[in-house]
């Protein structure tokens, strides 16, 4: 290992001696992010799956809901790249269109939770006092449930639907964003530039949202990506249990639900394996991105 490092050092030294290494104008975080090969893989995969979902109509001519009783449970073929399901729907098309909903749920909930969490956390963290105490208590109540228990409870209370699922995820997810933002704001609050702004008597909202928030955004972004991954997994798990998005809407989890049937599991791998792999890949891509972001925004990590 040390020999490998030595070689690397020599290379750098040599290059510098030749007077290279000028003009690095790129932002340091961005550079580190790009240097993180896994993050790049993540971005590429993420973009690929996302674009494929968005432009699904260009990639497949099949209607994800198009029943064709004359070709059921067909194995992958040229006609149906990933085969068909029990009522002859094209699985490839279902995976693509299902991605729209699954990604919407994941990203939408993460963004929604982040929006509420950041909105409240930034202000309460900066301002402190009664508001902060109150919101903190509320978030404590939400967080004293194991996540899945709370989600299940809310699913029964609100009923099963796509919007409800989004609401539920946002309800269960804002607490952690709130706490993180609040904690960041608490530490930023002690930074001297904030004290300086306060010495001018600037409006609290301007100080909190305009001046302080941008500096707390790094970890929040990381949190958004990682919770996107989490929500996608959670949606899939709930749908798998039959408690998520109503079964008639194609989502990755709902497609996988078919694998609960053991004969499908044993005989029709194309129904569950590709979706399972796509979910895993997508979540992995998001995680890679989140990790890359974390590394690039974390000043203590060096590379």
């Amino acid at each position: 290992m040390s020999r490998k490092l030595d070689r690397k050092f020599d290379r750098i030294l040599e290059r510098e001696e030749k007077g290279l290494n000028g003009g690095k104008t790129m932002n340091r975080s961005l550079r580190k992010f790009l240097k993180n090969r896994l993050a790049i893989v993540g971005v590429v995969l993420f973009a690929l799956i996302l674009l494929a979902s968005i432009f699904a109509p260009l990639l497949t001519s099949y209607d994800p809901l198009g029943v064709d009783m004359s070709s059921v449970l067909e194995a992958p073929s040229r006609e149906h790249i990933l085969g068909t399901d029990k009522i002859g729907r094209d699985i490839f098309s279902r995976v693509l269109y299902g991605g729209r909903i699954s990604i919407l749920v994941g990203l939408g909930s993460a963004l929604g939770a982040a929006f509420i969490g950041v909105l409240l956390g930034a202000y309460a963290g900066y301002k402190g006092g009664k508001i902060d105490k109150f919101i903190l208590r509320v978030s404590e109540i939400f967080m004293s449930f194991p996540q899945i228990v709370l989600v299940l409870l809310l699913v029964t209370i609100l009923g099963q639907s796509l919007t409800n699922l989004l609401i539920i995820f946002i309800l269960t997810g804002w607490g952690s964003v709130y706490r993180m933002t609040r904690a960041r704001m608490l530490s930023i609050r002690e930074e001297e530039y904030v004290q300086a702004l306060r010495a001018f008597g600037l409006n609290d909202f301007i100080v909190a949202y305009k001046h302080m928030l941008p500096n707390a955004i790094g970890p929040i972004l990381v949190n958004i990506t990682l919770s996107t991954a989490m929500f996608i997994l959670e949606e899939a798990a709930l749908s798998f249990l039959g408690l998520g998005v109503p079964l008639e809407i194609a989502t990755w989890g709902n497609i996988l639900n078919a694998a609960q049937d053991q004969s499908v599991l044993l005989n029709n791998w194309w129904i569950w394996l590709p979706v399972g792999v796509v979910i895993s890949l997508f979540v992995m891509a998001v995680n890679f991105m989140g990790d890359g972001l974390r590394d690039s925004t974390d000043p203590t990590q060096q590379g």
């Binding site: 002859g88 079964l247 008639e248 639900n257 049937d261």
Partner: protein, 543 residues
């Protein structure tokens, strides 16, 4: 809170096992057969689904035993029985030396008390209910003006039942109705019947008795050595599963843990066929899946789009049930043309509504179908197959120009599905849907049709129709077999024509037996009901 359980501490005891002098001299020399459908939280009482669960069929005996077609064969607990020509008087003589699993003797009073108690519980099997309610004095008893049912007279081993009105399914009822040791229910609220501690480890009268209950894990049944028809030679091990759709059936079977089971799942049946040592037999049963079309005007007064029979017929024509049955149900569903299954006595020449989209379009045009109207279809099954089926229907209806939307019903299903309108003639409808996808399982044909009589408490979708009332009445007004058959055939024809329900398919059930069962039931009947399967005489390979 709950008053059903005065003393929960004594719940887990197995009453049968601790009766003195009852130690089994010899454990069954035979092997063990494995089955699913064991209790999860509790043993389901046998007065709603008399034979759905293997434990109910083996733990409880009935007064009469039926053959595989559910026709009364001979006495079981009863040494003999006798019904009068007009069907208004029924008499049983109990066998001597009958015992409950706890060692107590079975008396005629137990039978009488069981019937009385059954009338007080909620969720009594519909056939039982109509039979018992027909007994003389039942009305007074239910109303609370009489302490007992006057029409049931007990004398030693003799029980005489006198009916106030004709009960066409009286004998059928007693082939399925299991008397219970009523002393275990003393002081308990009949409304909380299922919540009684009794159902944690019931005491029965059948060939097997509960040996060990580990709820959620397993339950074992052992031979009852005082069984009146001779104790069996093997024991039974039950794995828990919810109802008749056991998601783990295949896994269990592959692990060698299924020797006897039945399932309605086509997929499971197909997988099981491939498992070595298992034999799968298809059995036709009285189980119909259908659409209830809501023909009452909507709450806002607009007429139901389904009130026109042409629309209902168009829907029937538009759906290619044959293709669905073959592909989605793997050939294990039979397209239906009536609520009544295809039995020997069924009317002939019924319209099968074979797939015919052109005809459907024509009918719709005649009916002035509004292309923009979106049919609201509801269902309450939470499995994937139902959703797939709905999706298939949606796609077929789309082809003929009917938009439809389907959704899972959640909440208080009783009122969402079955609340009849206050005015059974003009409506408006008390429920919101246009079509409800549901199942009708029936012990007897009466059970299929009786609810369409005007004034029925659960007919939420078909407005009062004098012709229909008349046809139904005809099936219930005689005890003569031929007349009954003729009446039903008339009814079937009317039904087939008007489609007051839209039957979709009949679902058979699959009985799975392993090679371990050397000698099994003499004939295959509906595994969800009680018939003469002689389990006490089965021969099972030892492990």
């Amino acid at each position: 809170g709950c008053s059903s359980n005065e003393d929960p501490a004594e719940t887990p005891e197995t009453p049968g096992a601790e009766t003195p002098g009852e130690t089994p001299e010899e454990p069954a020399e035979g092997g063990v057969i494995y089955s699913n459908g064991g209790p999860i939280e509790f043993f389901e009482h046998p007065w709603l689904n008399p034979g759905s669960f293997l434990y109910n069929k083996t733990l409880f005996d009935h007064l009469i035993v039926a053959d595989e077609n559910l026709n009364p064969e001979e006495g079981q607990l009863a040494a003999d029985y006798n019904i009068s020509e007009d069907g208004m008087n029924l008499e049983f003589n109990l066998k001597e030396d009958l015992f409950w699993h706890d060692g107590e003797a079975i008396t005629a009073d137990d039978v009488k008390e069981s019937i009385e108690y059954a009338l007080k519980i909620s969720g009594l099997n519909a056939v039982f209910a109509s039979t018992f309610n027909a007994i003389k004095g039942a009305e007074e008893f239910v109303a609370g003006t009489a302490d007992e049912i006057a029409g049931i007279v007990v004398d030693g081993n003799n029980i005489k039942i006198e009916f106030a009105k004709l009960a066409p399914d009286a004998l059928l009822t007693f082939t399925q109705f299991a008397p219970l040791p009523m002393k275990h229910f003393e002081g308990e609220d009949p409304l909380n019947f299922q919540q009684s501690a009794f159902w944690q480890s019931p005491v029965g009268s059948g060939p097997f008795m509960v040996e060990e209950v580990k709820l959620n894990e397993y339950t074992t049944l052992k031979p009852f050595d005082k069984y009146h028809a001779g104790a069996p030679s093997f024991s039974i091990y039950l794995t828990p599963s919810p109802g008749d759709s056991d998601p783990n059936l295949v896994t269990n079977a592959q692990a060698g843990m299924v020797d006897y089971a039945f399932t309605k799942s086509v997929e499971a049946a197909n997988s099981l066929k491939e498992v070595e040592g298992l034999n799968v037999t298809q059995v036709d049963i009285r189980y119909t899946r259908l659409f209830y079309p809501n023909k009452f005007p909507k709450a806002d007064g607009t007429p139901s789009p389904l009130a026109d029979a042409k629309v209902r017929q168009a829907i029937a024509y538009a759906i290619d049930m044959a293709a669905i049955a073959e592909n989605l149900f793997k050939g294990a569903a039979v397209p239906a043309n009536s609520l009544s299954p295809n039995e020997a006595t069924k009317a002939t020449g019924l319209n099968d509504y074979d797939y015919n989209p052109e005809k459907a379009k024509e009918l719709l045009a005649e009916a002035n179908w509004d292309e923009d109207y979106e049919l609201d279809v509801v269902y309450y099954y939470t499995d994937q197959q139902t959703v797939d089926f709905m999706a298939a229907i949606q796609s077929y209806l789309k082809d003929v120009g009917i938009k439809m939307n389907f959704r899972l019903l959640e909440g208080d299903l009783g009122s969402l599905l079955w609340t009849p309108p206050a005015d059974p003639v003009n409506g408006p409808s008390a429920v919101e849907w246009d079509l409800a996808y549901a199942a009708n399982a029936a012990l007897s044909l009466h059970e299929y049709y009786d609810r369409y009589q005007t004034g029925s408490s659960s007919n939420s979708h078909t407005p009062s129709d004098p012709k229909l009332d008349e046809l139904i009445e005809a099936t219930n007004s005689t005890f003569d077999t031929d007349e009954i058959v003729a009446a039903f055939q008339e009814l079937q024809k009317y039904e087939n024509e008007t489609l007051f329900t839209i039957p979709l398919y009949y679902q058979p059930t699959f009985v799975i037996e392993s090679d371990k069962i050397v000698k099994g039931a003499p004939a295959y009947g509906n595994p969800q009901f009680n018939y003469n399967w002689e389990i006490q005489n089965w021969e099972v390979k030892a492990d």
